[in-house]
Every structure is written in structure tokens, then in C-alpha cells.
């Protein structure tokens, strides 16, 4: 099955063509609009998916040498996300499906992240546990079979990616903060100071990052600026130890508790090198296999939406032209069928 996927849930406009697990093209606005259409798209237009969606879809088709008639179906993110942004993708794909008389399906953005693990040659087997970590989500889900989700734990306040971004801002680092902290921390001493791990006294699989953020804030306020500057890598490393430590501890404990032998990590924070090495190291003694998506499929992209959509279309799921966008759609919540 050859599927066109479209993703417009937040800041990125993306379109992709896949066939099975193979990604034939995966175009994301921040890259190709700038390259192809001359000049930097101003920040003012950051959510103007409307202006970008047609050239992005055309670029995805062209790069994969696909004509619209060659496609077996369309997949589009219909939640969660910003309502205005979601509606652009949903209505555009509805238009395509109506004109070309092809099946289409609404895909949950978080389900898309889960399926980023099935792009390329991953060899992920069921059942597996997925740690979903991004700017908007922090949750542990068990996937027993395709399209079935058991939520085991989630954040009670801030998402971990949000904690990275906000702590980077407190430390005066440029945006986006995650990669900056990751890079600086490599040269730092993670035991330079101790930051608290949220909910560490509870036997829970939930997360809390609000307290860690406040702890870094208090630390910054109580420390001389020149000391902060001199020890920036150490502070980044210590923050990362606490933030990533919580992810690793809860994920490994969940896998052991539920006797799951495979862990996948998905979402933007899956690109963090410290998380990658710590998770793999912690899983090894228990013979648990850890899988990370390729870097390019960690952040928001349409290839993962197409892959999840393919799984649904193959099983006969179809959306009707009444498909709506749902800003607060939860993983496993079905709102895409007639």
C-alpha cells in the first residue's frame, strides 16, 4: 500500500509518501519551504499551514515520484493539537480524498509517534512498551498488538520536553533548548549538584517535572552569574540526570512489572543522546531490547502519520467526509470512523 500522510497539528507542516515500512519521501516545512520557495518564511507565518500545505504535498509527491492516482489512500493527523492548525490538514486531505475517490483515515498524532518505530527496518515485536516523550507528552504505554494501547503512566504537570525548553531558557540558552542542554551536558559533571526527581517517593509510573523546573530556577537565583557561566555544562548534566533518570527508572520498572521484553522510545526527546545511552544501559542487565526511531522520525513528521494510517487502512478503518479535528484527542480514543 502506498499512502500519503499529512501532519499539521502544531508548528510543522509535513507531508510524506510511504510504502509498507519504507519511507519514499518525508518533507517538513522548516526545511523545504526555505530551500524551494526562496527566502526564510517569517516567524509571523509559523502557523500559516494554509500557505505551505500545497507546496509541501507537491514536494512529497515529486520526491517519491508518485502521482496522486498511484496512491492507495491518505492519512491525516486529526488530533491532538491546535484546532486551527489541525483543520488545515484535515480539510485539505478530505478535499483530496473526495476528488480522487480514495480511502482516507484520521490518525492520532501520538499514535503516529508510536508508529515511528515501524519506519524502516526496525524489527519491533509485540508486546512492547513505548515511552512517549515530547514537548507536549510524557507517557508510558503498553502496546499488546497493533492499534491497542494501555496507558501505564503519564505526567501530572509539565511534559519532559517542556522542562528541557524552560530550563534552557532559565539558563539563558538559545531555543530549542533540548539539543543545547544535550550538547553542553556531554562535557559536564552530572554529580556537580543534585536536582530532585519528581514523585520519587511514590511507587508510580507517573511523572512530574514542575518541581524540577522550580529547583533549577531556585538554583539559578541563588548562584552568582559567573559561577553559573563557568559551570553551565555541569548544571545541564545534573538537570539531565534528574530529568532523564525519571524516564529511565519508570520505564524499566514498568517493563519489569508487566514483563515486557521490548521498549521503544518515541517523540522529540527520543533524540536526546543521554536518554539513548542511559535507557540502553539500564535495560541490558534485564535482557530488555531498546529501540529508538531514526533521528529524523523523532520530531513531528508525516511519515509516522502515514505509517499509522496504513495500519488502520489495511484493517479496513475509514474516515468519512464528516471527519473533524479534536484538540484534546487521547491515545486510543476513537473518533475517526463513521
Amino acid at each position: 500500500m502506498r499512502i500519503l500522510g499529512v501532519e499539521t497539528s502544531c508548528d510543522e507542516t509535513s507531508a510524506a509518501v510511504i510504502e509498507g515500512n519504507r519511507v519514499l519521501s518525508n518533507v517538513i516545512s522548516s526545511q523545504s519551504v526555505h530551500l524551494q520557495f526562496g527566502g526564510v518564511v517569517p516567524e509571523l507565518a509559523s502557523r500559516a499551514h494554509l500557505r505551505k500545505i500545497i507546496p509541501i504535498v507537491e514536494a512529497a509527491l515529486e520526491k517519491s515520484a508518485t502521482r496522486l492516482t498511484d496512491l492507495d489512500g491518505f492519512a491525516v493527523t486529526h488530533g491532538p493539537g491546535l484546532i486551527g492548525a489541525l483543520l488545515v490538514g484535515v480539510n485539505y486531505v478530505k478535499g483530496l480524498a473526495a476528488v480522487w475517490q480514495k480511502p482516507f483515515i484520521g490518525v492520532n498524532h501520538i499514535e503516529g509517534h508510536v508508529y515511528s518505530n515501524f519506519l524502516g527496518d526496525s524489527g519491533v515485536e509485540f508486546p512492547f512498551l513505548c515511552l512517549l516523550v515530547s514537548g507536549g507528552h510524557t507517557q508510558i504505554v503498553i502496546i499488546d498488538q497493533h492499534l491497542s494501547y494501555r496507558l501505564i503512566g503519564k505526567t501530572r504537570d509539565d511534559a519532559v520536553g517542556e522542562a528541557f525548553d524552560k530550563v534552557a531558557k532559565l539558563l539563558g540558552l538559545p531555543y530549542p533548548g533540548g539539543p543545547q542542554i544535550d550538547r553542553l551536558a556531554r562535557g559536564g559533571d552530572e554529580n556537580y549538584t543534585d536536582f530532585p526527581i519528581g514523585l520519587s517517593r511514590e511507587k508510580t509510573f507517573d511523572f512530574s517535572y514542575s518541581g524540577l523546573k522550580t529547583a533549577v530556577l531556585n538554583y539559578v537565583n541563588q548562584t552568582a552569574p559567573e559561577t553559573l557561566r563557568a559551570h553551565m555544562p555541569d548544571i545541564c548534566a545534573a538537570f539531565q540526570k534528574a530529568a532523564v533518570g525519571a524516564l529511565v527508572e519508570r520505564t524499566i520498572r514498568a517493563a519489569r512489572t508487566y514483563q515486557i521484553r521490548q521498549i521503544t522510545v518515541a517523540g522529540g526527546v527520543a533524540a536526546n543522546s543521554y536518554l539513548r545511552s542511559q535507557m540502553s544501559a539500564a535495560a541490558e542487565p534485564y535482557h530488555i531490547r531498546v529501540h529508538f526511531p531514526e533521528m529524523q522520525y523523532c520530531t513531528d513528521n508525516a511519515a509516522m502519520i502515514a505509517r499509522a494510517g496504513l495500519e488502520r487502512l489495511q484493517r479496513g478503518y475509514r474516515s468519512s467526509l464528516k471527519l473533524n479535528a479534536y484538540p484534546s484527542l487521547q491515545l486510543g480514543e476513537e473518533k475517526n470512523c463513521e
Binding site: C10, E43, L44, A45, S46, R47, P80, G81, L82, I83, G84, A85, S134, G135, G136, H137, K154, T155, R156, D157, D158, A159, G161, E162, K166, K169, L170, S210, K213, T214, L217, N218, N221, P327, S328
Partner: protein, 153 residues
């Protein structure tokens, strides 16, 4: 605009914040807007979480920094809209959000980083300021104002 100070208090613990929120809640009814002001880590999300716990929303609130708007439903069915404009840099980015439908609807609007959309905030509204206290990381000075259109008088 007419601004009236309703309350100013130092809280020393989450428990004291909860007591303050509980008192404040008696002023609040559906359709109203509550704008929160305070730096990173000052407790805006905690204030919202406490308020929502007292309203018994179905889902406990989490930070909407990423999604900008979270929607909950309070016991009794009142919609609660939880906004976070931290990521907003330009007014033009607000165009797609349909803010007026929320601000002038029947739900309770709770707005974090309200200073980012100062020109678009509805009247009347409550404004809540959360300030750090020197040398006391756990304490906050909280003040609550009612802001109304002066033409009402």
C-alpha cells in the same frame, strides 16, 4: 479600565495556596476569565491545578504550554478552558486559535502567560499575580485584582 485589589496575601506552602484558591473560588462563576501573571516556576499551573481540583474537573490539568489550549469539564458540566501563551511571540499567531469563541462563551477561562496577549484579554476579568519572595523559595506573594471596563460606572 478600573482595577480593584480584592486580596493580597503571602502563602508559605501549597496548602496555604489551596486555602486561598478555595476562598477566591466563591467569586468565580461560568463565563469568567482569570488571567495569571508570574515568572517561570512561580506556580501558575499549580494555581490552575488547585482550582480545577476544587471544581472537580474530570481530568487533572497538565501544562498546556505545547498545545496552548487544554479543555476540561467541571463537575456539573461547566467547560474549563486552560490557556498558556508562553510560546506566542506575535499577535498574528493568535488568529487561528478562535480566542473570542472561548473568551465570550459560557466556560471558565484560565490564562497562563496572559501578558503575552494583553491587548486581547476580555473585560471584566480577574488578574492574579504570583511573585517570588526573596530568600524563601517555597513562599509566594499572591494578589488578586478585579479589572472592569470603567464605563460600567
Amino acid at each position: 479600565m478600573n482595577r480593584q485589589l480584592l486580596l493580597k496575601q503571602r502563602v508559605n506552602s501549597p496548602g496555604e495556596t489551596e486555602a486561598l484558591v478555595s476562598d477566591f473560588l466563591s467569586h468565580v462563576s461560568p463565563g469568567q476569565t482569570i488571567a495569571l501573571y508570574g515568572n517561570l516556576g512561580s506556580g501558575k499551573t499549580f494555581f490552575v491545578q488547585t482550582l480545577c481540583r476544587l471544581l472537580a474537573t474530570e481530568e487533572p490539568p497538565t501544562s498546556p504550554t505545547f498545545t496552548i489550549i487544554n479543555e476540561y469539564r467541571a463537575q456539573g458540566g461547566m467547560p474549563v478552558y486552560h490557556f498558556d501563551f508562553y510560546r506566542i511571540e506575535h499577535d498574528a499567531e493568535l488568529a487561528n486559535l478562535g480566542l473570542d469563541d472561548y473568551f465570550y462563551g459560557d466556560g471558565l477561562c484560565l490564562i497562563e502567560w496572559a501578558d503575552k496577549i494583553a491587548a486581547h484579554l476580555p473585560l471584566p476579568r480577574f488578574e492574579i499575580y504570583l511573585d517570588f519572595v526573596e530568600q524563601q523559595p517555597e513562599a509566594r506573594d499572591i494578589s488578586i485584582h478585579l479589572v472592569i471596563d470603567k464605563n460600567i460606572f
